[in-house]
């Protein structure tokens, strides 16, 4: 699995790391039980402060996507049923994105077609 970090993006680096790991798990590039590199190793290779990677891992752990074990380090959570999927926060974020698309003039049909293609991309 390849992480692509844009060092000049407005999106914080820890957020990029978190987002890409989520995508990788969703697409099956990272499977339950797979090891992730240590905080120090990943930070050194990207060229950032270890606190940045630590923050990304902490987010993922809070969301139940990874578990951190003292002996084995960070791993993708084998039991990925972390409870309710469509939380209030999920709905709010999706509603906001849809509202932005509508505000820019997209029709219901256009949004639906676009969403379906993105769904195909993630679930392929």
């Amino acid at each position: 699995m390849i992480l692509k970090i844009d060092m000049t993006s407005d999106i914080p680096i820890y957020q990029q790391i978190r987002n890409q790991i989520v995508f990788a798990v969703a697409k099956g590039d990272l499977k339950p039980g797979d090891d992730l590199p240590s905080v120090r190793q990943l930070a050194q290779d990207i060229g950032v402060n270890p606190m940045t990677v630590n923050k990304a891992y902490a987010l993922l752990k809070e969301e139940g996507i990874i578990i951190i074990d003292r002996r084995h380090g960070a791993q993708i959570n084998a039991s990925n049923n972390s409870g309710l999927v469509f939380t209030k926060d999920f709905d709010q974020r999706l509603e906001l994105l849809l509202a932005e698309a509508r505000m820019k003039g997209a029709s219901k049909q256009e949004v639906t077609t676009h969403l379906l293609s993105l769904i195909d991309s993630v679930f392929q």
Binding site: I2, I5, M7, S9, L30, L42, Q44, D45, I46, N49
Partner: protein
Amino acid sequence: MLMTLIIISWVIFGIMAAFMLSYTKDLQHHQVLGVTLSDSHRETTEVQDIIKGYKRVCFLLFLLFIALSFLLFLPFARSYAEFFLLILVLVYFILHGWIVHIFQQKLQELKQEKGWIYRQNRIVRVDINVLKEKGKAGVSAAWVWLFFILSFLPTVYLLFSPAARELYPIGFSFIGPFCQLNIVFLYYRMLNSHTPALSDNTEINKACARTLERIRTTATTLIALSMLIFWLLFNLALCYREGFILIILPLIALLAALFFIAFWQQKRIRAAENYFFGSELQDESHLYEKEACYKWGFYYDPNDPRLMVPKRIASMGWTINIGHPAGKFLGLGIIVLVLAILIFVLYGGAKDYVIKDSGSQITIDAPMYDLSIEKSKIVSVSTLDDLPRSMRTNGYGGVNKSFGHFHVDGYGKCMLYMYAKGGGYVVLKLEGDNPGYVIVNGKTPQETEALYRSITEWVKIKE
């Protein structure tokens, strides 16, 4: 002595010139003199003309400074030989950086004029599977640790040899292990340095990572070995004092070895990257501007948490981030240190030592090595035509004069105050052995003779 100093300066100029010429090689992928350029742009006539101009200036600079070093044979420069050479080397370093800066500016102007704009955003690709296997393919760390331990051999020898400790303070024997420890630190940095993951195929990325790890750790291990060999030979030459040449030759060999190892490493890394990522490297869409924040020629980025950053041209080494709070102090400290060395060398070279008698004692007024000798402590006064083999343990050893703590064959620990053209020496034997003797002379044989007469008259003892 003068010729030795001149030869050392030529070696320094030669190595700097070789480094300057290596900056035009595209060893860092799409970088010429630290400026980002695609392969196609690099091959244009305008860029090639700038590179040729740069090489011409490098050669001229080298020849100019070789010629300037001959000025040392002139009487006015000979009196301040050490200071003059130090200034020459410093000016060469400064000019070296300034010339690189000028030609970097030329390339930047050409890029702007031609509209050669590359992507500004920098994307770092990291293959997670490669990271998991880091540290498994390199040369074993046991070698650099072994070399570190072996560098303590001179210290062990000094611990068991009181005679050797008189020639060579035990504190100096820790310089070698300190340098080796830095190489151990460098080894681990090399092991953990970023490996490019340009392919979407993880197996190719892993193969490249293993190869690069092997090259980097081999280079670091060879550096450690070269430094260990130099350190042991250096100590042998000091302890057995077989001549200055046995110190100079290993030093020249070490500098040459370091240069070739660095060059070999860069070349092999480039070859490996071309082999594994040949097609990806042809695709210049991944090119991005690698320019960083520079102010007055120094790296300045208060948002960068690093204190030390690699220079724009990686083989030039590292530079301080003067935007970092500690960087300001470090930079200032280095400037103060260089000034202090310059002042010491100038003061030592310019100021003569003066011998005065004042009733019950003789005072020798020398820069940083003053000495007062009570008349009652003087056992005898004699003369010497030639000084036996001697070694400076703590003092100033210049072309025209030397003074300070010396170990002289047959005399042991001495305080020496001598002019190179003094003709002979006056030897004062003292009570005790720390120092056992004070050896002085005048600027000319006549002054030395007069000095001997005045001291014996003062002591009223003649041998």
